[in-house]
Assembly symmetry: C2
Homo-oligomer: 425 residues x 2
């Protein structure tokens, strides 16, 4: 790869998500040459992808160009590339655009979708882990209504107007709520000749409750809010298959639907070349308390698995964990340069939150657990502050304020029609 | 098609461009049932497509959802469909989603790209007539620089950094200017490790001057402005072929480039079923002074050819012609209902304008011809006022103001990588 060789240790970072970008911004490039690679030229604010999918925000509101973030850093190189394999002995990373030698390698490539080996579901479901996927989902939802208008076949119309969301973690819950608000307040104005009461939103969860990672109180409230918005919830239910527009489940219940959104499972993703013994639960890479996989290779964010007594399953796959780890590692690198001793990474739990709809959110932070309009305001404020870039904060703030008063979020443009992958069943 | 039969004459409009949308908004639906079809669910403000292509504006700024425009009109139906053929005897229109009977049919399907039969150019060039094409071009431009960074092969790098624009009408001139400003002011900050002086912009025109439809004075000024921005201009030059990244021309000059933008020719587009004798110059449909093709079929905008002494080649293919015709026909329809006599369509020439860059524009309106900063302000004001929707006007205004002071237009996101069509050569 076309990167100049200079007399500084080269730190190669794979992935410009929360972890990789934080590290890239905070590492001192007076002492390091920094090479950041990502398969997109932008950072994606994943927590708001569901608002892109539900046509509430435009993609440029939650994406931020990587080059712009790093503009003022010296000895810094961004390359649009996909990491393919690592050679731990030779200390090189192979990408789709060439081979790169490293002194330190940081794997911050995040998590991808996990279909638990079910190829049929994989080829028929729509996931929502990237901006392209969120836009595909948006196109699909809007196209479905255009098609529903034009069919007299009730079975077909039901399939088009039924939406099944698998997984009631924050992504599934937030998307279900956003779709319900779209149906209740917005689509009836766009489609006066369509009976939107026919649109059903089904949320299916394997665990006994929604938002299973939060407290029972928050789960209960979220359940109540979803019910209020008329979302159908099925807990302790596994989706067994999805083919020919039919969803079959472990409890015998079946659903007819043209759109199944997969928000049920994620798995760590990283280049080839790492020993199987280093791969743990959820396809994450087992690292020590310094986030080190080997002496020269570090792992951050969703890809990293640190097992501890408090978190036997590893730290939660959250943006805040990723950012803390990125900041930690930058500090370690900057410290190492000054010959100081490494300190272990300590996660500060800042809490979790989810929004279900207007005035309906649940927040848990430290000892405080609260729900309702104030939680919703806190959720909005925190998300605004976490967005990268002043422009994006302003755009999202204006959009949200406008929507609050006008009940009319977004433009609902079908710019690229959704193209279904080839089914393998 | 699933449209209720009611006791009102049914007007079917093909295309929600400037002409079709104007007609749809102004026709009195107390006396007509209106069915509007378009292959997109949004209206595109074509004059600003080049700003989407050059990463200055986001697509949602220049697109407006059709359903939102027609929300308050009764007896009005929008369908997302492509018109395929017309049966003039049976008075039916066949679309990809079914057959529709009409009482009056309005063809406002606009113009598409004209490659003058050259299939090789057609498969290798990027046109810029739709939002998808403009987004493809944007992705391609940005990807080219990412690739140029990563090659040591000078020939390859030149191909990636050379841009050839064919056609120096308003679209070609405006795009050339926007690309030049991108190179001069914006990209050097994004790509500090790339020598952007290597980026060449070539504008090729068959006529003896740029903006040939405008006065010689405007042409001269536009030429001077383009030169000032360092655009290379070749007049009286025909592009003969474009294959394997090589452009050959009628004057022997060749260009190596990975990106050729086709802004050289447009041709009317309309469904099958119309007698060849009715098809005139530029593949446009020959209509009478009432824009009528037959008693029940009308043609508007770019698709319509009205030959007159003043305009022997037909009216110019401009948004303002299309809008005047849409408004005229709505009025005629509304008048017919009231049993008044038809008046012929009279085109009021409101002038033409083009912007080349910051403070650099040419305007001709009536007897007034002016250029420079004031022309640029007029150009901006007129375009803002013509945009559909308060939101879009605000968004574009804020973008332009921001860019004026910050020299930093847009986010330059590659959301969907450009996929080259299969070459047929």
């Amino acid at each position: 790869m076309n990167i100049p060789d200079i007399d500084l240790p080269r730190v190669v970072v794979i992935g410009a998500g929360f972890a990789g970008l934080k590290l890239a911004r905070q590492i001192n490039t007076k002492y390091h040459q920094l090479v950041l690679i990502d398969k997109n030229n932008f950072h994606t604010f994943q927590p708001l992808l569901y608002q892109v999918a539900s046509a509430g925000l435009e993609p440029d509101s939650i994406a931020y160009p990587i080059r712009k973030t790093l503009r003022k850093k010296k000895n810094t190189y961004f390359r649009l590339a996909s990491a393919e394999s690592i050679d731990l002995d030779k200390k090189t990373l192979t990408t789709n655009i060439g081979v790169l030698a490293y002194d330190k390698l940081v794997i911050a490539s995040g998590a991808g979708n996990n279909f638990f080996g079910n190829k049929t579901i994989e080829s028929n479901a729509i996931p929502m882990k990237s901006l392209t996927e969120a836009l595909d989902l948006r196109s699909k939802i809007l196209e479905n209504f255009e098609k529903a208008l034009n069919t007299q076949d009730l079975q077909k119309r039901n399939e088009l107007m039924n939406f099944v969301i698998v997984g009631a973690g924050p992504t599934g819950v937030e998307l279900a709520g956003a779709l319900a608000e779209l149906r209740n307040k917005i689509l009836p104005k766009d489609f006066p000749d369509l009976d939107l009461r026919q649109m059903k939103i089904h949320l299916i969860e394997a665990a006994p409750r929604v938002l299973a990672a939060m407290s029972e109180k928050s789960s209960e409230k979220a359940y109540k809010y979803l019910k209020k918005l008329d979302v159908h919830i099925y807990t302790e239910t596994f989706v067994e298959n999805y083919a020919d527009n039919k969803v079959s489940t472990s409890v015998g219940k079946e659903f007819d639907c043209d759109t199944l959104v997969w928000a049920a499972g994620v798995a760590g993703q990283f280049p080839e070349g790492i020993d199987a013994t280093k791969i743990g639960r959820g396809n994450r890479l087992i690292v020590d308390e310094n986030l080190a996989l080997t002496e020269d290779v570090f792992v951050l964010g969703d890809t990293a698995l640190i097992q501890s007594e408090k978190y036997p399953e590893g730290l939660p796959m959250l943006g805040s964990v990723a950012m803390q780890q990125g900041a930690y590692l930058a500090k370690q690198f900057n410290r190492i340069t000054k010959k100081k001793k490494r300190k272990p990474f300590v996660y500060t739990d800042k809490g979790t939150m989810a929004t279900i709809g207007r005035n309906l959110a649940v927040v848990e932070t430290g000892k405080f657990k609260f729900q309702g309009p104030f939680a919703w305001l806190v959720w909005m404020f925190v998300h605004l502050m976490l967005l990268v870039g002043f422009r994006n904060r302003v755009v999202v703030f204006v959009n949200w304020t406008w929507n609050y008063f006008r009940y009319n979020n977004g433009l609902r443009l079908i710019i690229r029609p959704y193209k279904k992958k080839k089914a393998t069943n």
